[in-house]
């Protein structure tokens, strides 16, 4: 999953660092796609054969598609990765409240049974 970078260390850290930046850019593009910036009394202006605010929205969504695709390609989903602490620490938090987490564990199917 991780690729070696120039300094010989795994490239995974660099990839993960870029992800939030790209996601923040996507959020900015979503904000720009909504025509807050245009007065609703202004006359029709065309861009690429469309009202300019529509063309801006489409261009924003096209850019979102490209960036989001890049983010997904850079998102390593490892089926054997350690689980979220929200799942692994539930027994501790339940015990701290004086209730066992056995119910949850028991009710979960055995992973071995469901794997092909």
């Amino acid at each position: 999953m991780a690729e070696a970078s120039e300094n010989g260390k795994p490239g995974r850290t660099r990839r993960v660092g870029l992800r939030p930046i790209l996601l923040a850019l996507i959020a900015v593009l979503y904000a720009i796609s909504i025509p807050w910036y245009r007065g609703d009394d202004q006359e029709l202006r065309l861009l690429l054969g469309l009202p300019d605010w529509v063309a801006v929205a489409i261009l924003c969504y096209a850019l979102v598609a490209v960036l989001n695709s890049v983010v997904w390609m850079r998102t390593p989903i490892d089926d054997d990765a350690p689980l979220s602490r929200a799942l692994t620490s539930r027994a501790l938090t339940a015990d701290a409240k004086g209730t066992g987490a056995r119910g949850a564990v028991r009710s979960t199917p055995d992973p071995g049974e469901s794997r092909p």
Binding site: V64, V71, P109
Partner: protein, 489 residues
């Protein structure tokens, strides 16, 4: 052969192919376990996974409802491209953490995650049930809308040679057959074929519309002439509604049970991320296309105010079919593509309903064949129960359909927050869900679906999250060594 006869023949060929796929999928199954039936043995590769995600995400509403909506409101419905794309963006919050858990803990339904995350806490079982009830209501509602759309399209494509009621019952029986025989494999494989048909049909239709109208600029100028408000910049309330719609659809659609089950069904995590990398472009090829089709129809059609705007697409297709053999063939292709979109969503809803009823509502877990059989029986029972409602052609269910997303979005904290925030408790999540749901449903039923352009479901979600955070922090204050600030997993 006239349009109706060619349509009937095309429909017969299409249904024949679906039945064959169902039978092949049945022969490909490994066993009768829920994991094999409801998740296709968790072996969907990139290509099939991408197409099944695509065909499931785009329903009859996307192909018939969206052009009508764009025809009615004009260019501001371009927001639809944004909210369909937002779904694939919001998945970033959920998928990277849910997928490993699903594989390592053997989840089959969305409720399996909720049970695993909250089941051991006080109120956990009630939360699982509450989430399951909201999801089952949304799925049943969605299935009903698809059945009605199936009847309409079957009647349209065959020129009423197949009446509405026969279309509903016959096509529902087809879905039940191949879904029961082949499970997720049959659904995914038919979705793949249906997705291709849908994309080809839509792009062909847009090409015909634009070429016949002198290009996009000519269409825009003509729309501005005949209906100036359709090109007008949205006002402040319109902009707030644009953002609210993106939030509502983007967040709620991620919680669709059939979408979550496809996360579980992928062969590998890498196949899943690659499928999403492709899926993110599909709103540009589908939602944007149907929006432009609806807008291009504004100067061509003069539907009376208050008329059912879902009829925009069928009227356009009939007009197209009158322009010679090529137009007729292309129009039938689009009709079958629309039917594909509807059936692919209906079959996914039905499959998810079966698993959800047996595991999340009845509380059965494990991997037994008996559970799979019960899931099939329950799905069939729900389908049979819904058919009489679908046969009421004039039954207006728009308020219930509106409610679907307002309900689903209230499950967001259980999934999108629950998988990240260690200290989130079951009681707090249940309380938030009840407060958010009561608020959204109450105001919608009282005739106030929006406040200042913002959907009451989105405001309800805000209340829901506030209750979840406040109660979770308050509950943990009594636990020694617990600091509410430290725990974002």
């Amino acid at each position: 052969m006239n349009f109706s006869e060619v349509g009937l023949l095309a429909l017969a060929v299409y249904v024949g192919i679906l039945l064959c796929v169902g039978e092949i999928a049945n022969r490909s199954r490994r066993n009768l376990s829920p994991g094999d039936h409801f998740l296709g043995g968790r072996e969907l590769g990139v290509f099939v996974l991408f197409l099944t995600l695509y065909a499931t995400a785009y329903s009859g509403n996307s192909l018939l409802g969206y052009p009508g909506k764009a025809y009615r409101v004009g260019f501001s419905f371009i927001m639809a491209t944004g909210f369909m794309m937002a779904i694939i963006v919001v998945f970033h919050i959920l998928v990277p953490r849910l997928r490993p858990a699903a594989i390592q803990r053997g989840y089959v339904t969305p409720g399996d995650f909720v049970r695993d995350r909250f089941g051991g806490q006080p109120g956990g079982r009630a939360l699982v049930l509450a989430v399951a009830v909201l999801m089952a209501l949304a799925l049943a509602n969605f299935l009903l809308a698809q059945l009605k759309a199936m009847g309409e399209v079957a009647s349209l494509v065959t020129g009423d040679l197949i009446p509405y009621s026969w279309g509903v019952v016959g096509l529902a029986a087809m879905i039940l057959f191949y879904e029961t025989r082949g499970g997720m494999r049959a659904v995914a494989w038919t979705d793949a074929a249906q997705g291709i048909l849908m994309a080809v049909g839509l792009i062909t239709l847009l090409g015909w519309l634009l070429s016949g109208s002198g290009g996009m600029e000519a269409v825009t100028l003509e729309v501005a002439r005949v209906r100036p408000e359709a090109v007008a910049v949205p006002d402040a309330i319109g902009c707030a509604n644009w953002l609210s719609t993106i939030l509502l659809l983007g967040l709620a659609s991620v919680i669709y049970p059939q979408a979550i089950q496809r996360i579980y069904a992928a062969r590998t995590g890498r196949a899943l991320s690659q499928s999403f990398a492709w899926m993110t472009f599909m709103p540009l090829l589908t939602t944007l296309v149907v929006t432009l089709i609806g807008i291009a129809a504004i100067p061509r059609l003069d539907l009376a105010a208050g008329a059912a705007t879902d009829g925009v697409m069928p009227v356009l297709l009939r007009e197209w079919a009158q322009q010679g053999t090529l137009g007729q063939a292309a129009a039938i292709l689009v009709f079958i593509g629309a039917l594909s979109a509807i059936m692919s969503t209906a079959d996914s809803c039905l499959l998810s309903l079966g698993s959800l009823l047996v595991r999340d509502l009845l509380g059965q877990t494990g991997e037994t064949a008996a559970q799979t059989r019960m899931g099939k029986v329950l799905a069939a029972a729900v389908l049979i129960a819904i058919i009489p409602l679908a046969l009421e052609r004039d039954l207006t269910l728009w308020r219930l359909i509106e409610l679907k997303m307002e309900l689903l979005i209230q499950c967001v904290p259980a999934f999108l927050m629950g998988i990240h925030w260690v200290r989130q408790s079951a009681v707090a999540t249940l309380a938030g869900l009840l407060v958010g749901t009561a608020f959204a449903v109450g105001l919608t039923l009282m005739g106030t679906p929006q406040w200042g352009g913002v959907h009451v479901g989105v405001i309800g979600l805000g209340l829901n999250i506030a209750v979840v955070v406040a109660l979770s922090v308050w509950e943990r204050q009594g636990i020694p060594g617990d600091s509410p600030l430290e725990e974002l997993a």
